[in-house]
């Protein structure tokens, strides 16, 4: 980016059409990337589901299915067609939200996913909130107190966070907080006492309970979610604090920080407003990425906590060789990844004025 060109554009106003077309071009390019990535995702799941297994129908229906059902499935999956036509059919079905039927639940996979996904979203969202709320202050602290004991501590916390197997920590947490101390609820999202009286419209239990003003239920839901969400949150904290530290160190070394000091601003304003506001630009990407990681981390966490979300759905399907369900879940998580990437890119553009003009 050449500064003269940009200022020329804004001074005369004549080049503004060119600027608009540049934004248009970037958006178009970005849309193309999203589409190819999504097609790539479908190509991989197609490959896993249709090409690797010797008989995809058997892989989907299991070997005890009646012959008529097998023939019907063969027809529906278009297995008599050439591979590229099969893939087109597969893409068309996937875009229509048709991932086939689950052997385990005998319902369409999409229906199952729609039912379980909110539980995962709730868990990952709360985890990310916890991770961000703790990770950013810790990272800022480490950067400001660089080289001190506080910095070292944050560094070690981060490294340990990167190294712990989450399912193991979950088991230990369960042992301590559920079995020994009895502080938390287990298993699932809500205690049996409330399971049938409580209706959730959004699928986000905590949100619904609070909205209905039922504090008793809200507390019970909270007791169920806090440990899994806290665990996921501590992982995202490890990642976010590390990245925050690194970004803050970069920003604190910039000239504009010296200029801000020369203006007589207080140190806290310089750190929390000037430096952090600049560090926030790349941090948005990091937080989106860590949210994506938590969706993935939930696969293992949900298994331990019997949390009825997408992760548990996928692992249950795995144990039962329910390929349609596994691949449907994979596509949904992959699509969420792509969506999060898109979102972080858009946020990046709005937060950084320098990319807005481009």
């Amino acid at each position: 980016m050449s500064p003269t060109l940009v200022s020329g554009a804004s001074r005369t106003g004549l080049r503004i059409p060119a600027r608009v077309s540049r934004i248009g071009f970037a958006t178009l390019r970005f849309a193309a990337v999203v589409v190819t990535t999504f097609l790539g995702l479908l190509a991989v799941t197609f490959f896993i589901g249709r090409v690797i297994p010797v008989d995809p129908v058997l892989a989907v229906l299991g070997d005890r299915a009646p012959a008529s059902a097998i023939e019907k499935a063969r027809e529906a999956m278009g297995l008599n067609l050439p591979v590229w036509q099969q893939f087109l059919l597969y893409v068309r079905q996937a875009l229509a939200g048709d991932f086939g039927t689950s052997v385990l639940t005998t319902r369409p996979v999409m229906e199952d996913i729609a039912r379980v996904f909110p539980a995962t979203i709730e868990l990952a969202t709360l985890g990310t909130l916890i991770g961000t709320a703790l990770g950013i202050p810790l990272g800022v602290l480490a950067a400001v107190k660089r080289g001190t004991l506080a910095d070292q501590t944050v560094r070690v916390i981060g490294l340990v966070g990167y190294s712990v197997p989450i399912f193991w920590l979950a088991l230990l947490g369960l042992l301590l907080f559920y079995a020994k101390l009895g502080w938390i609820g287990y298993p699932g999202r809500i205690g049996i006492a409330y399971e049938y009286s409580f209706t959730s419209t959004t699928g986000l239990f905590l949100f619904d309970a609070l909205r209905q003003g039922d504090l008793e239920v809200a507390l019970d839901v909270f007791r169920h979610i806090i440990l899994p969400a806290g665990l996921l949150g501590s992982f995202s904290m490890a990642y976010i604090s590390r990245m925050t530290r690194s970004f803050m160190l970069t920003e604190l070394g910039q000239e504009y920080i010296i200029a801000a000091r020369a203006k007589g601003l207080s140190e806290s304003r310089i750190i929390w407003f000037h430096a952090l506001r600049n560090a926030a630009v790349p941090l948005v990407t990091v937080i989106a990425l860590s949210y994506a990681n938590l969706l993935e981390g939930s696969v293992l966490t949900e298994t331990v906590f019997s949390w009825p979300g997408l992760g548990l759905y996928i692992t249950n399907s795995l144990q039962n060789a329910d390929m349609n369900a596994v691949l449907g879940g994979t596509i949904i998580i992959g699509a969420t990844f792509i969506g999060l990437n898109l979102l972080s890119d858009l946020l990046y553009r709005t937060l950084d004025p320098r990319t807005r003009a481009r």
């Binding site: 980016m1 500064p3 200029a259 020369a262 203006k263 600049n278 004025p353 320098r354």
Partner: protein
Amino acid sequence: MTPLLQVEDLRVSYATRTGLVEAVRGVSFTLGRERLGIVGESGSGKSQTGRAIMGLTPPQAQISAKTLRFGDIDLLTAPPKLRRNLRGGRIAMVLQDPKYSLNPVMTIGRQIVETLRTHARVSRAEARQRALEMLAAVQIRDPERVFDLHPHEVSGGMGQRVMIAMMLVANPELLIADEPTSALDVTVQLEVLSILDRLVGERGMGLIFVSHDLRLVSSFCDRVLVMYAGRVVEEIAASDLSRAKHPYTRGLLDCVPTLGTHRHPLPVLDRKPEWRL
């Protein structure tokens, strides 16, 4: 009348693995409401001197001096809060490159308003008004529009004028300009200098102009300090520069090519170890 700034035997040193490194080694001068130039090569300690007066040296720097007074305030014993209030309020500083010294994610207007509201109790509307006036004072033609721009949207010369506006908006008495034109195109340099010159004159401010460019400094300042290896080797009125005695100063002067003379080989700056002493 007490001078604006009194510096006596100022030393700035850094502890490194190989021992104490002194970046500034006993600099002394007094400054009234005048223009003082500090000239030297990179590493001569000129910028460190400016930063020490501002109180902007990094935390690991050790600063000592017999006297370091700003008006009636002893800067050496002044509590951090007071020093912070001085910065931007009564002593301001213009940095080298506006591309890096303006906060990229804040609009120009907000950055100027921020300085003002840190040091003066003014309403939002009034702060905006004064920021716009300040932008006009640094000869920005359309202040209303520039107010809402981000730093990357203006050219280097305009960015430096914004920087000057941001630093002068709270009416400081002393301005330290650290190589304020070195990062700019030559054509823009003079423009920015003349703005700086006029503002300093109009407001009766003291100015410390730090630069490596002896000619520039001598045309712009009343008095020149020539620094070498952390020391002042010569202090001279700008008008007497052609009569400079110290060989280092003479060397700096001779480095500048002049029109009409043809010199080969080009002179190389002499650096004698005994000048360090």
